[in-house]
Amino acid sequence: MDLSQSRTRQAIITLGLLSGALILFTGAVGMIAAFHEREVVNDFITLGQLVLLITPFIFGYTAANRLGMTGESPTSVIGGGIIIGLLTTLPTTLLLLFNSDEFRFLLDWSLRLAPFVVATAIAWRLHRQNVETFTLIGSWLLAAVLIGIVTFSLALIFEVKGELRSVLVNINRDWVEVVTFDNRKDLMRGIFVFSLASAVAGFVGSLCYYVPRTPRRAMFYGLSVTLLVGAFGETVRLVLQENLERDTLNQLFRRDTLRQNAALGLLVVSTVIGYLWAAFGDRARQGFQNLGGQQRQTTQMIGTVLFVAVLLMLPWLIGRTLSDVAVTIGLFVLMGLGLNIAIGLAGLLDLGYVTNYAVGAYILAVMTSIGPLGLMKGTFSFWMVIPIALLAAMFAGFIFAVPVLRMRGDYLAIATLGFGEIIGKLAISDWLKPLIGGAQGVQAIPKPIFLGTELRNPEQLYYIVLVACLVTLFVSIRLNNSRTGRQWMAIREDEDVATAMGIDTARAKLLAFTLSAATGGVAGAIFAAKVGSVFPNSFTVFISINVLSLIIVGGIASNPGIVVGAVVLIGLPELLREFSDFRFLLYGALLIMMMINRPQGLIPTKIVTHEMRAGVKAKVAAGD
């Protein structure tokens, strides 16, 4: 009983402080203030405030799940939620106080007292372990001095600089404004409102644990949809603009943010849909599974046709700005499908994929440019150069694969990473400058011309990318189910045994690298034509990393996963340009979270799911 209580307390405190640290950190790096600029629901809540509230909500719900499972009483579960809500505000509140004029002395005093308090605490710990008096005094002094050096110099810095803000640049007015919920003038009131809101969020989060499964799922679904539509209001408006009257649109949106009524309506509608889905979705899926082979195929056919139809009409549905984003996503899907041959199928960790992209782009640039660097000055059209770019990239893939054939795993990754860097340096070098322009790059690349029309808009370029993606998808599915695909998978699983089975592994690996490179070349060529010019700084290691990450996030070796991965990792950042400062921070956080909670990716292949399920079953069986 006692143990369980102290464990409960520990769980609550840990989660609460974690949540608090998250709020403090996001505030200190300036994310909260930046997010505050974007309203989710007009005159009601901003993205920054949403982060402040959703964090204790999620942590409250998580804690309730954990405590509820271990059989804690509702009082302590819900109490825990409230405490977590309050703890969430604690670090930020302290910082607010330290930052204010009235309570500056608190900071000064804590910095001065900290060495003594901490040193005494350490000494007390040691004392309990029966350490000699002499050692005890020594360690007290040592700790006090060491910590003192840090805190006193901090105190000095603050004293000299006068304000916290000069050290922590993002602890500024904007930040105070957000975390006090617009009560910057009356700090006490602000802290009260913040704590109350956070406690309520934690409370509601823990309460959700007691809502039955179906309505809870419906609620989460409704909330997520509403908040996502709100957060991406600008994008949603752009899409709707293509299809709705201006007046209707203005009733739903005020500039780029959702109006309150519209948000409420959306919440109700999406919750109802969510409810229906949660209640009857399983049965529908069951029904589909029970369909006879014939009917099932028909259903699948209809699904595919609908999907392709949507893909074909997409540019009309979403308009120019988003078509541009779709083209970028498509280019990365193209590269993802290609790289997946090396990584997903053959298990070859290639970190130099940007090489192929660069080769394709420069080939197209040099062969079609009508500027001074163009070799042919218009003799070659886009369509003629695409196959050349493809072959050139395959050739590059082949050449770079030869020296690394004998390498495995990490060594291969490092070597390919090196090749990627070499290409970047070559592109910018003086040596190749007469050919590809060095840092100035190649300009004046004409747009593709199709049946006499110049394809200059993203809506038109979209179709080129779409066709390329579909062809690649087709080829990769064919290969996946072929002798070659099985050879690759065997090499991925156990190279020695694969050799022993009579597979010529060197040949199979060369082929994987070569074919994998092909789509990179095509993507590069389309990119060059889209932008109209090519610069060396477009071809950094980040391209390789992006492509690799989208494969991992989507689910390795999973084609639908690659599309979802590209939308999440390439599309979202395009839509959230204003937060580009935090792009890699969020990116990193997302990758870490994925690796911990969903290592199989967002849309895993059946095999991986199988494996994970088997793992879970084994754990359950072992009484874990």
């Binding site: 695909g485 998978m489 020695d496 045994v497 022993a500 082929l511 494996e611």
Partner: protein, 273 residues
């Protein structure tokens, strides 16, 4: 004792003066050795005697330092594992080494590699010859699955198969290359008595029905004595005895190698039982 078929004099595999060293340690020491064609032969010996190393040398996983290996009339030492597989030797591993994340049928289809001809271009274009080969490969795979007793489990991921099924699948994969000689490294390890008996019968079928020469490394003496027609005993990389099961059972050197000098006299019987 197994009913012995007429002993053929043909030696399918002959090793002379075969030596394999690992930086100082002599794992296989100047070994002279042969396997009669069409027989079921066993290699036994204490842990670390060099049995697995011997298999690895035959299959080209290790290159031998001295001596020569002749299989079916041709020298095979110095060849690579895939060449040796193509010449007709297949194997299983002591610690099962399946392609874990591939389905059972896919494992067997990979095993058929030496006989496949289709190319990647054919697969992309969907050429009729490629399709036919794929279909044949799959059909033959299903037959083999049935032969090894894994009917209906072809689409399971091999990782999720039971231990015994994994061992069977590994044998199936080895059979897929249509070998003349199959090397089984402890095929009954980790099996319960019932599975062991099944596997013993199964190994006999390999020889009787498919006409494959079988060499197995085995620790279970009942299995060894039951099915072997020829036994070789290794200790510290050297051959210490060779012959028919009954000869081995009563060989004092063998008993000593297994149980140590003191116990030799008393344990003779238990080894024989």
């Amino acid at each position: 004792m197994a009913g012995k078929p007429k002993r053929r004099q043909n030696k399918i595999l002959v090793a002379t003066g075969m030596t394999k060293r690992f930086s100082g340690l002599v794992a296989v020491d100047n070994l002279d050795f042969y396997i009669p064609e069409g027989s079921i032969a066993s290699i036994i010996g204490p842990n670390g005697a060099g049995k697995t190393t011997f298999f690895n040398c035959i299959t080209g996983f290790y290159q031998i330092d001295e001596g020569e290996l002749i299989f079916d009339g041709n020298r095979i030492d110095g060849r690579s594992p895939d060449q040796i597989t193509r010449s007709g030797i297949a194997r299983t591993f002591q610690n099962i080494r399946l392609f874990n994340n591939m389905s059972a049928i896919e494992n067997i289809m990979v095993g058929q590699e030496p006989h496949l001809k289709s190319t990647w271009l054919g697969s992309i274009l969907g050429l009729p010859s490629t399709r036919r080969e794929d279909d044949d490969t799959e059909e033959r795979g299903r037959e083999l699955l049935q032969f090894v007793g894994l009917e209906g489990k072809g689409d399971m991921i091999s990782k999720n198969l039971s231990y015994g099924d994994q061992r069977r699948l590994e044998i199936g994969r080895a059979l897929a290359s249509k070998p003349k000689l199959i090397l089984l490294d402890e095929p009954t390890a980790g099996m319960n008595p019932r599975e062991t008996i099944e596997t013993t019968g199964f190994i006999r079928r390999l020889r009787d029905e498919l006409g494959i020469t079988v060499v197995l490394i085995e620790h279970d003496m009942r299995v060894v004595m039951d099915i072997s027609e020829h036994i070789t005993v290794l200790d510290y990389g050297r051959k210490i005895a060779e012959g028919l099961p009954e000869e081995i059972q009563n060989n004092p050197d063998v008993i000593e190698a297994y149980l140590g000098r003191g116990a030799a006299a008393s344990a003779g019987k238990s080894l024989a039982s």
